[in-house]
């Protein structure tokens, strides 16, 4: 027990010194377990490859240029889809949030379409747009849009009325209040919406690539299934997880630190 506590305090101190540690140390036991299970060959090796085989597959696919190309395709689709989803979702959310009339008219429709999941659109989209970029873009934008809109509305409505009144009394026009009060006040919620939207969007994209794709990580995985290459499927899954980890650590968390947390509006 004491030994465990000592090990933990050692780890805690090491993480305090090198914060990057806590990003991958938790994975060490997981990967070790995986390696052991693969090594003792509880399952046939072809169905359950070990970490080293995946690393080799990674090296080989990077060398051939397939993985970088597919990764670029997937990420580009996500970025374009997320940007479009935000460009539509944030203004729409603000409009619904500030106007009870728009809220009354749009909210029921929004709830209705939110229930029709992204994948449920695919049969129709394939008939309309075929197997291609338009279908995938639609799916991502659709998936990103709802969490962004719903959270933006929540954020706009959570701005205390005193802040509106303070701004009005200090001479702000309605338009200035939108920019100076409503938008920053709603920002922590908008970021939550973006975080959820990107997460759902990423999953929806992979699903769409599996069904309608001709490139991308989802396509890579499905193509590997056709070839019976379990190792490439596993590689694809790991890339998905790592990429989300990178988006969280390099994009979302820094933005949250610089805004809501810095302003004391969100407690960590």
């Amino acid at each position: 027990m004491t030994a465990l506590l000592k090990a933990w305090s050692l780890y805690a101190r090491a993480v305090a010194r090198w914060p990057a540690l806590h990003a991958f140390v938790p994975f060490i036991p997981l990967v070790t377990l995986w390696a052991i299970v693969a090594e003792v060959e509880i399952f046939p090796r072809a169905f359950f490859p070990g970490p080293m085989e995946v690393v080799q597959a990674f090296a080989s696919l990077v060398y051939k240029g397939i993985l970088p190309d597919y990764l670029e395709d997937s990420v580009a689709r996500l970025v374009v889809g997320a940007a479009a989803g935000m460009a539509l979702g944030i203004p729409l959310g603000i409009l619904i949030g500030v106007s009870p009339r728009v809220h009354a008219l749009v909210w029921p429709i929004l709830l209705f379409f939110q229930a029709i999941g992204d994948i449920a659109w695919l049969p129709l989209l394939i008939i309309w747009f075929g197997f291609g970029l338009a279908t995938m873009t639609f799916v991502i934008v659709y998936t990103v849009l709802f969490p962004v809109v719903l959270n933006t509305v929540l954020g706009v409505r959570s701005v205390p009325i005193e802040l509106h009144r303070a701004a009005l009394s200090l001479g702000a026009s309605r338009a200035r209040i939108l920019w100076e009060v409503v938008l920053p006040g709603a920002l922590p919620n908008i970021l939550t919406g973006l975080r959820n939207g990107l997460g759902y969007g990423w999953r929806a994209l992979i699903a769409a690539e599996i069904i309608v794709g001709t490139s991308g990580i989802g396509f890579l995985m499905f193509d590997a299934r056709r070839a019976g290459s379990v190792v490439e499927i596993v590689l694809g899954m790991i890339v998905l997880g790592l990429l989300w980890y990178a988006v969280d650590g390099l994009v979302l968390t820094p933005i949250e630190r610089a805004t809501g947390e810095r302003w004391g509006m969100v407690t960590r």
Partner: protein
């Protein structure tokens, strides 16, 4: 700074759940002269916050009128600065940007409005806190920012809604002394809402006691300035006025 007139001001709220009308304010008339400090004193539910919300233009009056320097109030505006009980600072703006907000809305350029803001922050002893965010300050300091943010916009009338009700007792006394000092230095026209008898008398030239939406009494506070708690705790005139006001409030 300009004068403020309330003429036969009434406010009736409709309670949609009960289907009844509630009279919050009933034909209140009041004159606040330029540079005068008037406290509105009364228990909860007497209509004092309603008065402030009406004068600030946050809610419409049922009847009667409000004039600031002869002009009728129709909505919120920069001629009436408001200090809120909840401080209502913008969490995403630094202290400096909070205080510079009013001048910014007036279109004053960045260099000039920051100079104005720093000048007012210095007035409240907050020069060192300019670059901090509100949540990094104590409640007392946040409300100092709230007061100078309203003053920096040079309103005709300063409206204060129980501004010191949510800070601790010691800080409250310090803030009250600072407010009298700032008032003497700048002479703004002030309408100060409070339920605290000592506070009402300590700060004001006149205390208006409100009860059930009507003016119960209008008391002149002939206590010399500068006022400090140490001096006034021993002052006979202050004691007489506070006990008189207390009796009125308790009978209200």
């Amino acid at each position: 700074m300009k004068n403020l007139t309330l003429r036969d001001l009434s406010k009736v709220y409709f309670n949609p759940d009960a289907g009844t009308h509630v009279t919050a304010l009933s034909e209140v008339s009041l004159e606040v002269k330029q540079g005068e400090f008037v406290s509105i004193l009364g228990p909860s539910g007497c209509g004092k916050t309603t008065i402030l919300n009406l004068v600030a233009g946050f809610i419409p009056a049922t009847s009667g009128e409000i004039l600031v320097d002869g002009r009728a109030v129709t909505g919120p505006g920069r001629d009436r600065g408001v200090v809120f009980q909840s401080f209502a600072l913008f969490p995403w703006k630094t202290v400096l940007d909070n205080v510079a907000f009013g001048p910014k809305m007036r279109g004053i350029d960045k260099t000039k409005r920051e100079r104005i803001a720093r000048e007012y922050l210095a007035l409240a002893g907050l020069a060192h806190a300019a670059d901090r965010y509100p949540h990094e300050l104590s409640g007392g300091m946040q409300q100092r920012v709230g007061v100078v943010r309203a003053l920096a916009n040079e309103p005709d009338v300063l409206l204060m809604d129980e501004p010191f009700a949510s800070v601790d007792a010691q800080t409250r006394m310090t803030l009250q002394e600072e407010l009298t000092r700032i008032w003497q230095a700048r002479r703004p026209t002030v309408l100060f809402i409070t339920h605290d008898v000592n506070e009402a008398v300590f700060l004001a030239n006149r205390v208006v006691v409100l009860s059930k939406g009507r003016v119960l009494a209008d008391i002149d506070v002939a206590v010399p300035r500068p006022r400090t708690w140490d001096a006034l705790n021993e002052d006979a005139a202050f004691k007489t006025l506070t006990s008189q006001a207390l009796q009125l409030v308790r009978s209200a």
